[in-house]
C-alpha cells in the first residue's frame, strides 16, 4: 500500500549531547552566567567595552581575590550579612503575626489596614533620615530600616495567604471544634506558609537593596559602604567587586530560602509527581 503511515521504534541514537546539556536546568544555571562573563572578558580585552568603566572580569576577579585574602572583603561581607539577618528577623516576625491575625479577624483588619496601607507607598529610602534622627547613626537605625522594608513584603504576602485559604478548611476546623488559637496553628499558619515564604524571598531581596543604601551613613563597614566609598575615590574595580559580591549574596540567600521552604513545606506537590489511584 502506498497510503500508509508507519509508527515504529526510532533509531537508537537518542538526543545529542548538546541537546541533553541544554535541557538540563542545573547545567544551564551554571553555564549561562559563565558564557556571559566570557563574552564580557572578550569585549573588554578587545576594547569594545571601555575598560575604565567596565573593567574586565579577569581584573575584577584578581581584585576580588586580593580583597578576600586581605580580609577586607570577608569583614565587610560579614557586617552586611549580620545587618540583613537581624533586620530581617525584626521585620518578618511581626509581619507574619500581624498578617495571620489580621487575615482572620475582620475587625482588626479594618482597624489596622489603613495605617499600614498609608505607610507602604513611602519609599523606605526616603524614611531613612527620619529613622536616623530617631535611632541615631549606629546599627539600630540600620536594623530598623531593613526591618521596615522586610515587614511590608512579608506582611502583605502573609495576609494574602490567609485570606486566600479555601473556606472549606476553616469550616472543617470549626466543625471539629477548633479554638481560635487552634485554628491558627492547624489551618491558618500551614495554609499560608507558601505565601509567607514568597513574602520572605521578596523581603530578603528588599533587605539587601535597603541595607546597601543604608550603609552609606554612619559606618565604615559593609558592602554598601564599600560601593559608596569606591565611588567617592573613583576606584571602579573595587566598586565592581562589591557589586558582584552583593549580587552573589542576593542569589545565595534566595537559594537558601528555597531550600528552607522545601524542608518546611514538604507537602507542596513537586512538578511531575504521580498520583496514587484508588
Amino acid at each position: 500500500m502506498s497510503n500508509e503511515v508507519r509508527i515504529s521504534a526510532q533509531a537508537a541514537k537518542g538526543p545529542s549531547l548538546f541537546r541533553r546539556l541544554t535541557a538540563s536546568h542545573g547545567f544551564m544555571a551554571v553555564a549561562s552566567p559563565i558564557v556571559l562573563l566570557l563574552l564580557w572578558e572578550v569585549a573588554a580585552q578587545a576594547r569594545l567595552l571601555d575598560p575604565r568603566f567596565f573593567p574586565a572580569p579577569s581584573s575584577v576577579l584578581g581584585e576580588l581575590v586580593t580583597l578576600t585574602l586581605s580580609g577586607e572583603l570577608p569583614i565587610n561581607l560579614g557586617w552586611t550579612v549580620q545587618r540583613v539577618l537581624i533586620g530581617f528577623v525584626c521585620g518578618a516576625v511581626p509581619a507574619i503575626l500581624l498578617g495571620l491575625v489580621m487575615g482572620l479577624s475582620p475587625l482588626l483588619n479594618a482597624l489596622l489596614r489603613p495605617t499600614i496601607a498609608a505607610i507602604y507607598p513611602i519609599p523606605k529610602i526616603a524614611l531613612f533620615p527620619l529613622i536616623m534622627l530617631i535611632f541615631g547613626l549606629g546599627e539600630t537605625s540600620k536594623w530598623v530600616i531593613v526591618g521596615i522594608a522586610v515587614f511590608f513584603q512579608v506582611f502583605f504576602s502573609t495576609l494574602a495567604g490567609v485570606v486566600n485559604i479555601e473556606h472549606i478548611y476553616l469550616d472543617v476546623a470549626t466543625n471539629f471544634g477548633a479554638s481560635r488559637w487552634q485554628a491558627y496553628r492547624t489551618v491558618a499558619l500551614p495554609a499560608a506558609l507558601p505565601f509567607i515564604f514568597t513574602g520572605c524571598q521578596l523581603g530578603l531581596g528588599m533587605a539587601l537593596i535597603v541595607v546597601v543604601v543604608a550603609e552609606q551613613f554612619g559606618t565604615k563597614l559593609g558592602l554598601g559602604f564599600m560601593i559608596w566609598r569606591s565611588w567617592q575615590i573613583f576606584e571602579v574595580r573595587d566598586m565592581f567587586v562589591a557589586l558582584i559580591v552583593v549580587a552573589l549574596l542576593g542569589y545565595g540567600s534566595q537559594l537558601a530560602m528555597l531550600a528552607l521552604e522545601r524542608r518546611l513545606v514538604q507537602w507542596k506537590p513537586k512538578s511531575g509527581s504521580q498520583e496514587v489511584k484508588t
Partner: protein
C-alpha cells in the same frame, strides 16, 4: 414495609435529633433567600438517613446548621447526647477538605489532636480507622499524592475517628466516578456498621440513597420541606451488587423518582 412512613416505626431507637420549626433566611442587601421554613424532623438514634431533593431545597443549609457552621434564624434543633464527652458532629464535605499540609494519619487524627487525646490513644484510634478505611498503607502519604477517591476516604475516616454524636455527609461521593462511588459506599457501610452512629447523608443519587439508608427524606424546593419520608427496609449487611438485583429496589427507586420529578428538576 416498602414505602411505609417511618415516623412511628417501633424498631427505631430513642430520638437523637429533634428539629422543630427550623428556619433559615439569608439576606444579602436587598436580596433575601429563605432556605428553610418551619422545618420539622425527628431522627432516631442509629438511623442512617439520606436526604434527596432538588438543588436549593435547603438540604445543605440544614446540615450546616447541625454542623455548627450556620445559625438558624428561627426554630430550634435538639440533639440528645450519649454518655461520655463526644464532640457533637463531624462533617464530610463534597469538595476535598483534607488538609494538604498534613499527612493522611494526621488528618485522620485531627479531631483527636484538637481535643488533646493522649498520644497513645490517638495513634491506636488512627491506626484502627486507617485499617477500616483501607488506608493502612497510606498513613504517611501527603494528600497531593492521592486521587480524589482516596482523599474522600481520608475525609470519611477522619469523621469517624473523631467519634462524634452524629455524622453529617454532604454528597461526599458526588464528584467521583461510578466504580469508585460503589467501592466507597461499601466502605462507608463497613465503617458505619461498627458503631452504628446516627448519620445524615445528602445525595442526588437515588441509587445511593437506597443502598445506604434506613430512611429516605424527599425534600421539596425552596423553601425546604419534607415531602415524603420513606422507609428502606433491605436487610443489613447490604451489598450493592445484590441490592441491584432485588425487585423491590426498582420499585422504591421509581417511587422516589416520581416524588422528585413532580416537585421540580432532579438536579
Amino acid at each position: 414495609m416498602l414505602g411505609a412512613s417511618a415516623s412511628n416505626d417501633k424498631r427505631a431507637g430513642p430520638v437523637k435529633i429533634s428539629i422543630d420549626g427550623l428556619s433559615k433566611t439569608f439576606a444579602s442587601g436587598k436580596l433575601t433567600v429563605t432556605a428553610l421554613d418551619a422545618f420539622d424532623l425527628r431522627i432516631n438514634e442509629g438511623e442512617f438517613i439520606c436526604i434527596v431533593g432538588p438543588s436549593g431545597c435547603g438540604k445543605t443549609t440544614l446540615l450546616r446548621i447541625l454542623a455548627g457552621l450556620e445559625t438558624p434564624t428561627g426554630g430550634e434543633v435538639r440533639i440528645a447526647r450519649g454518655d461520655g464527652n463526644r464532640p457533637l458532629s463531624s462533617m464530610v464535605f463534597q469538595e476535598s477538605s483534607v488538609f494538604p499540609w498534613m499527612r493522611v494519619r494526621d488528618n485522620v487524627g485531627y479531631g483527636l489532636d484538637l481535643r488533646g487525646i493522649d498520644r497513645g490513644m490517638r495513634d491506636r484510634t488512627v491506626a484502627h480507622f486507617l485499617e477500616l478505611a483501607g488506608l493502612a498503607r497510606f498513613g504517611d502519604a501527603w494528600p497531593h499524592q492521592l486521587s480524589g477517591g482516596m482523599k474522600q476516604r481520608v475525609s470519611v475516616a477522619r469523621a469517624f475517628a473523631n467519634d462524634p454524636e452524629i455524622l453529617l455527609m454532604d454528597e461526599p461521593f458526588a464528584a467521583l466516578d461510578e466504580q469508585t462511588k460503589i467501592i466507597l459506599q461499601q466502605e462507608l457501610l463497613r465503617l458505619w456498621s461498627e458503631t452504628r452512629k446516627t448519620v445524615l447523608f445528602i445525595t442526588h443519587s437515588i441509587d445511593e440513597a437506597l443502598v445506604l439508608s434506613d430512611r429516605v427524606l424527599v425534600m421539596s424546593g425552596r423553601p425546604g420541606r419534607v415531602r415524603a419520608d420513606i422507609r428502606v427496609d433491605f436487610a443489613r449487611p447490604r451489598f450493592v451488587h445484590e441490592l441491584k438485583a432485588d425487585a423491590g429496589f426498582g420499585r422504591l427507586w421509581h417511587e422516589i423518582w416520581r416524588l422528585l420529578d413532580s416537585s421540580g428538576k432532579l438536579v
